[in-house]
Symmetry: C2
Subunit: 196 residues, 2 copies
Amino acid sequence: MNYPNGKKQANSQTNAWSNTGKAYGNRGMTLEEDINATNSFYLDSEIAVIHKKPTPVQIVKVNYPKRSAAVITEGYFKQASTTDYNGIYRGKHIDFEAKETKNKTRFPLANIHEHQLNHMRAVQKHGGISFLLIRFAQLDETYFFPAENLFQYWDDKLKGERKSLPYQVIKNSGYLIPFQFQKRIDYLAVIDKLYF
Amino acid sequence: MNYPNGKKQANSQTNAWSNTGKAYGNRGMTLEEDINATNSFYLDSEIAVIHKKPTPVQIVKVNYPKRSAAVITEGYFKQASTTDYNGIYRGKHIDFEAKETKNKTRFPLANIHEHQLNHMRAVQKHGGISFLLIRFAQLDETYFFPAENLFQYWDDKLKGERKSLPYQVIKNSGYLIPFQFQKRIDYLAVIDKLYF
């Protein structure tokens, strides 16, 4: 844990410090925006190549107007069969899902689909690194939660034991990622610590 | 080369043999369909986890009808910033683009976008395996063409030297992938030979 035990912070300006000692809060960006900015920084700095996958769309009708771009006029959102983000870092395959919750005390497992969990298991089995990034929006805290820890709680859920990850579990077996200026959500720093 | 030198075949039934000695031709499936079937086989057999990324769509308007699914009523195709396929195999990050051409004598480099090539360079730099799968539809031949070989021809193109990969170059510095029944385009067999 990067963060003093159990102490809750009142606002975003005080819960994370960059390397330079200056405070950076979330400033109203979504988790997705923060991750995209972080991935752009990783890419531009030649640290890693990690991208968000496009939203899967079932395209039903397309119009081809003369002298202009094709227009999709009927399409539907499809359920993703994998996680949203993947790529490569230090030779390792990286694969993760990012979820934001307004809940302050737990992360409901209904946020993750079973085929996404199976995908994460398969990735780990083949030697990749899989994890969740979980943001508690109200607390302005973002955690790295390793897939192995998730699997255990998931299997308990299937046995009817739990339907969510308690905040304290995420705090204790996850890793708080402090906000920074450029690498807003520097999840690779956690990977450096855990896997290299 | 898996295939006798320079000999051209008249039809799809005779240009590839499976491990059991029985011939399998392309049978009118597109390269994308063949790759998707192959990736499904890899996934189901727990050989590898490799998926096609969804087509990137810029979603402009969405209707939310009562009691039914959201409908995208205005959307546009966006240019992909990466390759179409990626995943993990034997601990390695796999990343490739697949292209079909009706041309019999060359593969026009205009089929590949510069940012895709840059993406492939970045993947290789970070320790991944990147390549093209090129199908000559008229010849019913599909080749594995390593990214390193592509980069060289690409740089020549930028110097104004060439605008395509000649068929003979692909034949000589690529690897013919024979059609098979389940692993229709068994490109991982080439990776086994080249990288392990």
